[in-house]
Symmetry: C2
Subunit: 251 residues, 2 copies
């Protein structure tokens, strides 16, 4: 069979390429319809349809009065932005916030020790925070650190700063992370802190972050309000990438 | 600060590298503890701990009688395996199944037309299926195809085969896809088909699949039982990859 790409799809691909390559910069105005029509030598319809698709995908924002701009969070996010809720919110132009629920030094259980690659009963630091976007709760975050890492977090003001920025000042920097994404019902603590009913669906991301030596520097369990946040990933036949669907308990 | 990588973490990294590189093949037996101890010149403890970590991450399966083997679904999955529930289940060594709930040709609404990059009222094909792992329901899948693609699916026996395999025979092959992952409560149809209570948390993956010409060949909305499936993704500071956390409605 033949499946010709319609003109608007070709324009879409070209505009998407420009956004991805940075030729059209994040946050900048999108060229006017008039200039795009002139450049591509097409009629108004396909240009509008290509722009509408990019808008539907969130690659372009604004319109209806405001000039359309390239979205600041096009699907390629830097590792730092993806890892840090604080940096992510700032890039979005929103004010990140946090409220520390718990910060405690305690001995590792067997399971936690295995995850953090330390010995059982070795000390760890546990931090539980509610993360806010603007003034609204968006996520409950529970992070565990080996004491050697977490000790840098015991005395700083976590209500006004990023854990990763604090760790970076101590030269602890994550360079690789694994994220396991699923859904779970809200438990009492999440229901209270995120203002939802118990049992309401939350998007859970469990993370293991590795430092430059390969050692685990953090394991985390982030529970997002799905009304506030989703995750986007692209893959293709050309490029192998570390993305997998996995059967729960199949291991 | 110094953050020395303990010996077991170094062994873990080396074994992980071997699994990733294919030096240790998926599905094959892991070398014996004895041979690893001899090769690395270490004591039994660190070797065991490295193996335990790989087992906890699902990179190694078996043990307790059965010889440990490299998991067939290490986090790198091929594009085809990630896209096709059927191929994925088979790679896991499980029997994929499906039950067609609905298969219908109908005109595109405005929203669907925009997503499929066609004109409103153009014909589309909608297919709703329950997907099974073994005999257990795992996911409810709702796929929409432009008629030019979906017409190949109207008369085939979908209870005994893969949609993607059928499309491949018609030379329609996805080469790129975008996946948006979040969580939602089960609605009546999902509750009935997946045997859960209404409102139970489901893991939702919305997918847009593109063919080689850049045209959209499918949009899908897959709702997984989180007790059966999760998604895993890895990222690193070295490699940019198309992964993003996104604020819902921020566009």
């Amino acid at each position: 069979m033949t499946l010709h790409s319609p003109l608007h799809a070709q324009l879409y691909e070209e505009m998407l390429r420009r956004i991805r390559s940075g030729e059209w910069c994040a946050g900048e105005k999108v060229p006017s319809e008039k200039s795009l029509i002139a450049e591509f030598g097409t009629s108004r319809g396909p240009v509008r349809q290509a722009l509408a698709t990019l808008r539907a995908e969130g690659m372009i924002v604004g319109g209806r009065g405001a000039p359309p701009r390239v979205h600041r969070t096009a699907p390629h996010q830097s590792f730092d932005t993806f890892m840090s809720f604080t940096e992510w919110a700032r890039e979005l132009g929103m004010t990140p916030g946090q409220k520390v629920i718990e910060r405690v030094k305690l001995p590792a259980t067997e399971e936690i020790a295995r995850e953090l690659q330390i010995a059982p009963d070795d000390p760890i630091v546990e931090i539980i925070r509610v993360r806010l976007l603007g003034d609204k709760p968006a996520m409950l975050e529970r992070s565990l650190f080996p004491y050697e890492v977490g000790r840098h977090l015991l005395r700083v003001d976590l209500d006004n700063g990023s854990i990763y920025q604090t760790l970076a000042r101590a030269e602890v920097v994550p360079v690789r992370a694994k994220h396991i994404i699923d859904a779970i019902p809200a438990h009492p603590l999440e229901a209270e802190q995120l203002h939802v009913d118990q049992g309401a669906p939350l998007l859970r991301v469990r993370r293991i972050a590795y430092g430059s030596t390969g050692a685990v520097i953090e394991t985390a369990d982030d529970r997002y309000l799905p009304a506030m946040t989703s995750f986007v990933v692209e893959n293709s036949a050309d490029h192998s990438m570390p993305l997998a669907r996995q059967a729960v308990g199949a291991a």
